[in-house]
């Protein structure tokens, strides 16, 4: 792995704009400020959820610390009709798609297994089986093709699909099969891989011997690598890739080169398998810091702008905490209702039998303690 990899970058870690021959950020400073707000709030959601897990309010939390720019940058490039298929760490994409952060928590709290409506939000449910969603995204894209929502020239109709996944996922059969299908059918899907260098304890060289973006050429479609900590570059490449898909030019693989600053989940202990020096190295490339620097130095934004966002993030954090703790546990009898489109007689009988059984106890326990 080269020390400084080749990738698309438009904003340096120090906060300076740079140019790239093939990609440009087409937004203004107001948009950058708006994206900065997204970055800060996303990070705050993540921090609060991590604390909530430590206090036992969540069973687990998959932190996106360090990956904010990859998610905000790519998600902000999506049009409302574009559909995104996440893994279980895309809290920044969820934020941009309008999912209430409290709604994200219910899965991790163990209250339900996905509380938003994917068909209304164009954001898939979190998928914990690694890589499965890439096939779902490809199939969805094939549906888009059959609906004639590709290549019409209408920006509000032509639809792109984005499949998010990590570096570890690229070793799964499903992901490679998705690449084959997407290329063979020329499906309008963008494969957005956040290479955060780690799959729990296994480093990227356990998953690949070549830069991940180069895989695409083997499957027959373009791939590129972007600085995953550069929100402007991520936005630019995603916009370009989704445009390609919309036009009917087929799939693209984007490898967002970033780093998982936190642990895999909250009880993972990264000190067992990686060096603290790596972490220090990546802290210098922090996605938020460089935007902060740019906005201060070049966009003329003063301290009150940043203070307002901090205050807003405090309020958001508080609301998340309140919302999390107030979440009611589901009733166990509800599990019999939605197994099938129509409840079977057998399930109805099991439900009634269990209800009668529960009724024989003096106190009803919410058995979770």
């Amino acid at each position: 792995m080269p020390e400084e990899p080749e990738f698309v970058q438009l904003l340096t870690p120090e906060g300076e704009r740079v140019e790239h021959p093939s990609f440009a950020f087409d937004g203004d400073d107001e948009m950058i400020a708006s994206m900065y707000r997204d970055l800060v709030l996303t990070r705050r959601i993540d921090t609060e959820a991590t604390a909530l897990q430590r206090q036992g309010e969540l069973g687990i939390w998959a932190s996106l610390l360090g990956q904010e720019a990859a998610q905000i940058g790519s998600a902000r490039a999506l049009r409302p009709q574009d559909f995104a298929f996440p893994t279980y760490r895309e809290h920044g994409v969820a934020w941009c798609k309008g999912i209430d952060p409290v709604a994200l928590l219910s899965l991790f709290r163990g209250v339900d297994q996905g509380s938003w409506n994917p068909l209304e939000t164009n954001f898939g449910l979190y998928t914990i089986v690694i890589g499965a969603q890439t096939l779902h995204a490809t199939g969805y894209a094939m549906g888009v093709q059959r609906d004639g929502a590709v290549g019409t020239g209408d920006d509000d109709r032509d639809t792109a699909v984005v499949a998010y996944f990590g570096d570890g996922a690229t070793s799964q059969g499903d992901v490679n099969e998705a690449f084959i299908w997407a290329s063979v059918f020329n499906a309008p899907v963008v494969f957005f891989c956040q290479n955060n260098q780690w799959a729990i304890s296994e480093p990227i060289d356990r998953q690949t011997r070549i830069p991940l973006y180069q895989r695409a050429s083997g499957f027959g479609f373009p791939g590129l690598r972007v600085d995953g900590n550069d929100v402007l570059a991520c936005h630019a490449v995603t916009k370009a890739a989704t445009q390609r898909a919309r036009e009917g030019s087929g799939p693209t693989l984007i490898e967002a080169f970033t780093y998982r600053m936190g642990a895999h989940t909250t009880s993972d202990d990264p000190t067992r398998y990686r060096l603290s020096g790596d972490l220090e190295h990546w802290k210098l490339k922090d996605p938020l810091a460089r935007v902060h620097a740019y906005l201060t130095r070049h966009a003329g934004l003063a301290e009150d702008f940043f203070a307002d966002i901090e205050a807003e993030s405090d309020v958001l954090a508080h609301r998340i905490r309140e919302g999390c703790v107030a979440m009611a546990d589901p009733h166990v009898l509800g599990i019999f209702d939605k197994v099938y489109a129509e409840q079977t007689e057998e399930l109805a009988a099991q439900q009634a039998g269990y209800a009668a059984y529960l009724d024989t106890f003096e106190t009803q326990t919410g058995a979770h303690a």
């Binding site: 069973g59 687990i60 279980y88 899965l107 991790f108 709290r109 163990g110 209250v111 339900d112 297994q113 914990i128 089986v129 690694i130 570890g168 996922a169 070793s171 799964q172 059969g173 499903d174 799959a199 729990i200 304890s201 296994e202 356990r206 998953q207 067992r272 398998y273 546990d329 589901p330 009733h331 166990v332 599990i335 019999f336 197994v339 057998e346 399930l347 099991q350 269990y354 059984y357 529960l358 106890f361 326990t365 919410g366 058995a367 979770h368």
Partner: protein, 324 residues
């Protein structure tokens, strides 16, 4: 005699097998450097090296498929599938290849592969981490399927499974990884494919395996306070089943309840019930009852305690059996 957790007992057993046979290879996701997400393989890579303790790419099908090749080359792979819900990408390799190769090669290609799978619920986990797929494997000819329930059994059974020339799906009750038991390393262990009476009783026979054994033992304690004497049998081996001790028990008690986390419908309990009815018909004072999961996917973790069979559900079945 030492007191040891189930996870540590597995660790010690793996270590003993690796020391005893240089062909034993451990492979899986995060098993090497990290020592496994439950620390079951902790320290093994440090002592036996990266060639024998392999951190694999994130690819379950790859883990099992390459194990087939390693086995053909004379190695004894001990594969880890990180969680039960993630075994399915590997399912094809397991049932189409691992299970069948000895048979279709006329015995020329033995598959001495162990597939370790932490299984079952009760750890408050997100989706796909609390499954009980054992019946699917027990239903597949060519595989052996065992489930340890405690540290002492775990220590011996993992070694025996590794030494077995047939493929073994080795199920580990993840909610019991930190349960301690006494382990006598000098004792002669029971055969791998044997069931065991773990508590004597006279009124009802209760059968369980894996995580439910402890639940049933606790049930027996509670039942004793009420004057009912429960005999608990740990099945230990699901394929092949060892039911002679069960038949002997049922002929004494006349009543039997089978308990597992897995869905009742078409679970292990169904096969056990059919066989008991055939072999012990004249001894049965009541029908064979089963306690297990409902016909729904595993629920969100906040209500899993109400979904999983617990002491009250087991004893409710015992009561119903006695009422006949």
């Amino acid at each position: 005699m030492s007191t040891i957790t189930l996870a540590k007992a597995l660790n010690d057993g793996l270590r003993a097998s690796m020391e005893g046979d240089a062909k034993v290879v451990v492979m899986g996701e995060d098993v090497g450097k990290l020592g496994g997400v439950f620390r079951v393989t902790d320290g093994l890579q440090k002592d036996f090296g990266e060639d024998r303790v392999i951190d694999t790419p994130l690819s379950e099908s790859g883990i099992i498929g390459t194990a087939v090749g390693l086995a053909m080359r004379g190695y004894r792979p001990v594969c880890e599938i990180q969680f039960d819900g993630f075994v399915y990408p590997a399912y094809d390799q397991i049932v189409s290849q691992v299970a069948k190769l000895h048979f279709r090669s006329g015995g020329r290609l033995p598959m001495p592969i162990v597939i370790r799978i932490p299984f079952g619920g009760g750890i408050g986990a997100v989706e796909h981490h609390s499954e009980s797929p054992e019946a699917q494997f027990a239903h597949t000819a060519g595989l052996k399927v065992v489930a340890c329930s405690n540290a002492a059994d775990a220590y011996w059974m993992i070694q025996q499974a590794i030494a077995c020339d047939d493929p073994v799906v080795f199920l580990e009750p993840k909610r019991r990884y930190w349960e301690k038991a006494n382990l006598d390393r000098e004792a002669a262990p029971a055969p791998l494919l044997s069931s065991k009476v773990v508590r004597d009783g006279t009124d009802v026979t209760v059968l369980a395996y894996g995580p439910m054994v402890k639940t049933c033992l606790e049930s027996a304690i509670a039942a004793a306070e009420g004057g009912t004497s429960i005999e608990v049998i740990d099945l230990r081996t699901l394929s092949p089943l060892d039911l002679e001790p069960v038949y002997a028990s049922v002929r004494r008690t006349g009543r039997v309840v089978v308990v597992h986390e897995a869905v009742v419908n078409l679970g292990i309990g169904a096969e056990v019930a059919a066989r008991i009815t055939e072999q012990c018909f004249y001894a049965l004072e009541s029908p064979v009852l089963r306690v297990g999961g409902f016909d729904t996917p595993y629920p969100p973790s906040r209500i899993e305690e109400e979904y999983l069979p617990d002491l009250d559900r087991v004893l409710d079945a015992v009561d119903r059996s006695l009422a006949y």
